[in-house]
Symmetry: C2
Subunit: 277 residues, 2 copies
DNA sequence: TGCTGCAATTCCGTAATGTGGAAAGAAGTT
DNA sequence: AACTTCTTTCCACATTACGGAATTGCAGCA
């Protein structure tokens, strides 16, 4: 069969041992990047370097499972809602989301700022939950599902900082390899991490977005190797140092409470299937 | 090969034309149901009716892509955070989530109640976004990713009601076939739908959870075939009829604003990649 | 310390499964 | 109406995924 790995096959690291799966994953990721409007078969096929027939078959199969939808029944494809359902369970995987949600709600309710629950996923950090405050700055910040390389971004830094030193170096190296820009700021990242390790939290004006400040605390339940953090974004000029410290204290309170809950065996989470509206 | 479809193969409707994919999907769904603690290979294999070696291969491949994680490096598997990332993009697929989030934030901020953005996915409705209010009743209600058969549940009913009559009947029939209990309440569901069609909204004390009342309005941008709804849950005794009507008015206001935005071509959404904290 | 049993891996020959080229439909465009 | 572009279906082929058997790893127990 003319199925040689084309010499310029993208990411050899994407090979997992099951071809169809690899291709499906790449297809879905591609669709994800395409975002809103959807993509047509031919573009997808081109983007993946696959024949139209193969792409078509993949799409049909994924569509069958609700992982891909057609935009108003036509020729454009986009990611399907079944993924959202699956991911909902994934996000609750550790029970963390459920556990932290009330805390997030309280924090953003009191402060009016948006709060995030962030979890590690391999070399990335993922926004697993997000609670809007009264001051909506939506368009600038990450939504649920947002990804960032570990080390970059508030919660991300707090998480990475609480890893063993060897792990940290490995992650930094890997991410520098993945992202050229990452390498250049490696030293600053390292410095930041050291700061977090010393203080137990991250407070910084140097967010990735000019004018946005950041506050974040890692969640480290004794025993568990959970790698998560709670973070907040706010317009830097809105809170002076005193206010930030007060806010920080509240966050640490909530985190401590969460850690305590997780430490109590059995109380971590409840396998109850939830009902609905 | 001894790869006959076993006579009692579960759901023949799960066949999509690509075996590996079907199996992977079933595996992921199974892991999703398992939830928190994770599942071990042997149970998974048993649950799927697959050999251990096949299951192992699937798991390894999925793990490679971050769709499955090992609980603290051990023998238990659970859904991975990469799914959350993918689903984040899926949830924004229509641009709806981003568009509605500020509205949800306002509504739950003002009322103190939790609000939901619900979208159709085939025969189901999926909770695509959720904004916590001051009154947290978390454990009872659906989280992001929560699924319910179309017709059951607040937003769900509002969405279904705004479909053409033929579609409604088809969905009801299909869901009655899927869920035995659904069939018995079909007449009540139909009645509810008619009510929604007449009023343009759903207001009911008969939520699936005793004591919880429900308010929901479908989002129907002229032209678009979008099938979504905004919904709220609240403890029935907390709001009297007057308060509910006022709340309803606010919801309809927000929905109208959203529909207006969507009608303006180009203003629907912006393909801007968002930055982060 | 050495069994014993169960679960997770790895190996490997086999054929079933997924493959892409070619050809047929659909839908716009000039 | 001829042309272009994209989607969908068909089909013979060999690559890919399959599962049984063998191996390794790990607890619990004697």
């Amino acid at each position: 069969m003319a199925n040689f790995r084309s010499p310029d096959e993208p990411q050899a690291s994407t090979e997992s041992g099951i071809q169809v799966l690899d291709r499906s994953v790449r297809l879905l990721n591609l669709l994800g990047e395409a975002g809103h409007g959807g993509m047509q078969l031919s573009r997808l096929a081109a983007g993946l370097g696959l024949s139209a027939s193969t792409t078509h078959r993949l799409l049909a199969a994924l569509e069958h499972h609700g992982w891909v939808e057609r935009v108003d029944g036509g020729k454009l494809h986009r990611l399907g809602a079944a993924l959202v359902a699956l991911a909902g369970q994934a996000a609750d995987g550790t029970g963390l989301r459920r556990l932290c949600r009330p805390a997030l709600a309280r924090l953003s309710g009191e402060s009016g700022e948006t709060t995030f629950l962030i979890v590690r996923s391999g070399l990335n950090a993922v926004v697993v939950d997000r609670q809007e405050g009264a001051y909506v700055i939506e368009s600038l910040t990450q939504g649920v599902g947002g990804l960032m390389p570990l080390g970059i971004g508030a919660g991300s830094a707090a998480i990475l900082a609480s890893q063993p030193e060897a792990e940290i170096e490995a992650v930094l190296a890997a991410n520098a390899a993945r992202y050229p820009q990452f390498g250049s700021s490696a030293e600053r990242v390292r410095q930041r991490l050291r700061q977090v390790q010393a203080q137990g939290y991250l407070m910084s004006d140097e967010s990735l977005i000019a004018g946005l400040a950041v506050l974040s605390v890692a969640i480290r339940p004794p025993g568990h190797a959970v790698t998560a953090a709670i973070a907040t974004n706010f317009i830097a000029s809105r809170l002076d140092t005193a206010a930030r410290l007060a806010f920080l204290r509240r966050i640490r309170q909530e985190v401590a409470a969460i850690e305590a809950t997780m430490a109590v065996p059995g109380a971590t989470q409840r396998p109850t299937r939830s009902g609905e509206s």
